[in-house]
Symmetry: C2
């Protein structure tokens, strides 16, 4: 598989995720926020191509690749930060894909990539965080708005993997790095199981609902609190319990309206959908 093919799989994963509707609370083809629109996500996904291709050719430098991805994609649109969390998951997966032809290899290589990250990766990652003004904190006791944090990272000799270990207890994206991208691979399997029966849009929507019902969304925990995230997961679970998938679509629409009204957006769950779609497309999923 060429670096260019792998980068296109990642691009298409970002496109399909943001298009799938309704993904309760999030931007999709039919829902925009005030300053960030559907089209900003498309433009960000197009613009990041060179960094994705570079990642597929790289054995190291995950931290600076994430930072470059954030900077490059933001040159193509004025809607602000669109894909930060997704890049944290995609970059090691894309790097691993560059060494692999099948999913068994991908599972092994992505762990090697994240475990092989360095202190420089941590510093670059931190720079990306405060440059992008992202709300989610990766590590509790380091102030992300403070450029001096990088000195602390160097003094403590923290690698990017170490930082993810520290935050993995309360951050589902960081946890992917430490648990072998388990939710990502489960997500990929779920989408592929559903695609023939439900089509690409609904396969994504139903998988999104499943993830949301099982795991408290980190973005909601940070923006609101743990209780709100739990409440949203229970609501998703109750909708899924009610019956056949087609029949539940109305409930998913109402749930979407409700979350959007409250400003509750499960952004980390959307990031997992992107990484799951990437794995599916890497495996050759077509629709």
């Amino acid at each position: 598989m060429t670096p260019s093919h792998i980068a296109m799989c990642a691009q298409l994963a970002m496109m399909l995720e943001v298009s799938a509707t309704p993904k309760p609370g999030n931007i999709d083809r039919d829902h925009n926020y005030v300053d960030t629109r559907f089209e900003h996500f498309l433009a960000g996904a197009v613009g990041v191509f060179p960094i994705l291709e570079k990642a597929a050719r790289s054995d190291s430098g995950a931290g600076s690749l994430i930072r470059e991805a954030v900077l490059e994609s933001s040159k193509w649109q004025k809607g602000g930060n669109t894909h930060f969390g997704a890049f944290i998951l995609l970059m090691p997966l894309v790097m691993a894909a560059g060494r692999c032809d099948d999913i068994a290899c991908l599972k092994v290589q992505v762990q090697k990539i994240v475990r092989g990250t360095t202190v420089d990766d941590a510093v670059e990652f931190y720079r990306a965080f405060f440059e992008a003004g992202v709300k989610v904190k990766p590590v509790k006791d380091l102030d992300l708005t403070d450029a001096a944090s990088t000195e602390k990272i160097r003094a403590q000799r923290l690698t990017l993997f170490n930082m993810m270990e520290i935050s993995s207890g309360y951050d589902m994206i960081a946890e992917e790095w430490t648990n072998g991208f388990q939710k990502t691979f489960d997500c990929a399997a779920s989408i592929q199981n559903k695609i023939n029966k439900h089509g690409i849009n609904d396969a994504i929507v139903f998988t999104f609902m499943e993830l949301l019902s099982k795991y408290k969304d980190t973005f909601i925990q940070t923006k609101f609190d743990d209780r709100k995230a739990e409440e949203v997961s229970i609501r998703a679970e109750n909708i899924l319990k009610k019956g056949e998938m087609g029949a539940r679509m109305d409930d998913i629409y109402s749930f979407d309206d409700e979350l959007i009204r409250e400003g509750v957006n499960p952004g980390s769950t959307a990031d997992l959908i992107i990484s799951g779609l990437f794995v599916s497309l890497f495996e050759g999923m077509r629709f």
Copy 2:
């Protein structure tokens, strides 16, 4: 501008065109046909990247680039032919963009590219046509389903530009090749004039309506007849006459419903929107 940057401008042009809603009669983010969906257009636009990048590095071979684009983009999705007409416009523009930094240069170079096409380009283009099973005929007296046509092309020493000259009287895409891509550059100017006031989606929708009101759509002429195409243009013109753009949106939605019910899709007008968006993004348009 790098070949990769130019290819990304073309990709994003395809994404923005298919997303803009409502584009009366056509697929958009809220309208699918039975076998071809919005997501097929996204996947086709992602998958064609390597051919776009190759085109931006090429001085010749427009015919085979169009054919490769059709073949490559169809590997990424199962919705059939999504962008044939768009590729006929995009390939010479992308080739020209590879030699240029500004629009004045682009206008000159794109004419050199199309006028420099060869008999081989014509043969490759013909092969693409019957391989893709496209309905619109490029040249009246050559049967596109007949592989022997290529012998006739060689015998008559027709270049691809000659073929476009023959069909330019009744095909708005072919006419772009012979008139210096005038509608494309007008379309780009119209979108850029509207984007600050109306935003990217509505700027595209209103420009689409303007094009439709001014020019009979070739795809409708071929699928139905000249009279139907004229009727659609008059309907579009009457809607535009009615007043301020915002106020007309309801009429555009009704017009869209009507055309979709009748199976009338102005596909050639959509192709012009793509080439106009490409020129705008090449010029640095951001949103």
